[in-house]
Amino acid sequence: MALQFLLNGLIEGSMIGLGAIGVTLTYAILRFSNFAHGDFMAWGAYSTLMLVGLIGSAVGTVAPIGPLSFGWPLILAGLGGMVFTGCLALLLDWLLFARLRARGQAIVVVMASFGASMALRNLLEFAFTSSPTYFSRKIQIARPIGLGIRITPDQTVLLGMTLVLVVGMHLLMTYSRTGREMKAVSQNPALARVVGIDLDRIVRMTWLIGGALASAAGLMVGVLVQIRPLMGLDMLLPMFAAAILGGIGSVPGAVLGGLVIGLSQAASVQLVGAEWRQAVAFVILVAVLLVRPTGLFGVQER
């Protein structure tokens, strides 16, 4: 059996995992499933694309870095896209979710996120049409790295980016004051207020981080696959599966969950055919929940 699926799964898992961090944090801290999270990914990819265009029109054509398909403008635009998408998430919360949250019915907020998802997607289709677009149409040459596995330079760099972001997030959650406060709020929001934690600040941080990481995942999908208004919607189920699989609230859990889903999807393409790919996330999710309802990293509270 060809082992290439391992690499494909690792890459797909990274994209899912990056997105799932935002899903798991939003769920743990704001207590609702944000179905618009996938669309943050798409908005991240498109905003990055726009920024690349802006930089291009300001400085002209920039040569790609070494064997990569892109140059420094994409890196800069990627960072800009993360900031933009983080702010988009903040804006959406301010306009919509915060108001509904104040009324205290979780299901209303969830339904609102469905609506927001549709609106965000339609806006992209309106502005960019529903046909796919690309950061670059350059063909990359995949190099063998042993065991019959081949990897392109773009894939290598983006896997590195994922690693940096995930380790950074883990350090933030474990050692920073904000990370501890986020955990405290997810465990007991009322007590968090009693000990002096500003809930509004933590909510803002959660949206910023979730939006920024979704944008990074969108960039990764955009560079390695393609950019489409529906790109995020397609990732929604795998992201939720990963977040629940890893245990709600756990950053390493979300990433590990993403890798499990990504690898299984890639394996299923090889073993049972691509049409079953989407079902895999679902089957794994159900199987794990039956065996371990709190997910891989989840802890029973009582």
Partner: protein, 243 residues
């Protein structure tokens, strides 16, 4: 002189038009231990939760050392000098003992935090031995210790506790009350809601009896236990048959 903590006709409740605290006025002098007694459902917990900013206030005022803190958001109370230990779920179960203290010390200057955590461990040596343990795995008594340490770490002027002895073994009850007396000697004003009236009155200076959201009686702690008015207001809580 201004009281350390004072409520003035406080009205508060969870839903609009449904007051649970109905015009409660209490006054706590600096370094006093004031006990709040009353039958189940009288609104004792709601009263101190309203003072702490956790229950919406619809009337009256709360003052801390002469400064009005009515409707100050709960997360600013720590800065105002008011610390609160809820009755249940008063620690973060999935944070270590140490991180429970750290996350509660956010208001302190950064350089001060580590030293202050060690001071808390010196005050509660039991906790020091378990600093890396998840708070959720502590025993009931140790949890109360952690909850108290968590509240004290920011050097509050007023410490409010909701039934700190509930569910504890007699040995721990004694320890908790001994600690509270010590904490007061350290200069902290204490407001104590208790079902365990006997033990609370033993360390308290004064007591209020709350009935249906209002103060029904006020007396020095030493005389309250034998007060016939109280026996009437406060039936069912006296297990030793005072009358």
């Amino acid at each position: 002189m201004a009281a350390m903590l004072e409520t003035d006709g406080l009205v508060a409740g969870y839903e609009p038009g449904l007051p649970i605290v109905r015009g409660a006025s209490i006054r706590v002098e600096p370094q006093e231990i004031v006990v709040i007694l009353g039958p189940n459902g009288a609104g004792k917990s709601s009263l101190i939760k309203a003072i702490a900013g956790l229950v919406p206030i619809s009337g009256g005022a709360v003052r801390l050392a002469g400064v009005e803190i009515t409707r100050v958001p709960a997360h600013r109370m720590v800065q105002a000098g008011l610390a609160f230990v809820p009755q249940t779920e008063n620690v973060f179960p999935l944070l270590s003992v140490q991180d429970n203290l750290r996350v509660s010390a956010g208001g302190l200057p950064r350089a001060d935090t580590a030293a202050r955590i060690e001071e808390m461990f010196a005050l509660f040596p039991d906790l020091a031995r378990q600093r890396r343990l998840m708070a959720g795995s502590l025993s009931g008594g140790q949890r109360q210790m952690l909850a108290a340490a968590r509240a004290l770490i920011v050097r509050p002027r007023v410490l409010m506790l909701d039934e700190p002895s509930a569910g504890l073994s007699p040995r721990f009850v004694e320890m908790v009350f001994a600690r509270l007396a010590e904490i007061r000697r350290g200069g902290v004003t204490v407001v104590l809601v208790e079902q365990n009236a006997r033990a609370a009155l033993a360390i308290g200076d004064r007591a209020y009896v709350l009935v249906e959201g209002r103060v029904a009686h006020e007396a020095p702690a030493a005389t309250l236990w034998d007060d016939p008015v109280v026996a009437e207001l406060y039936l069912g809580q006296r297990s030793d048959g005072g009358r």
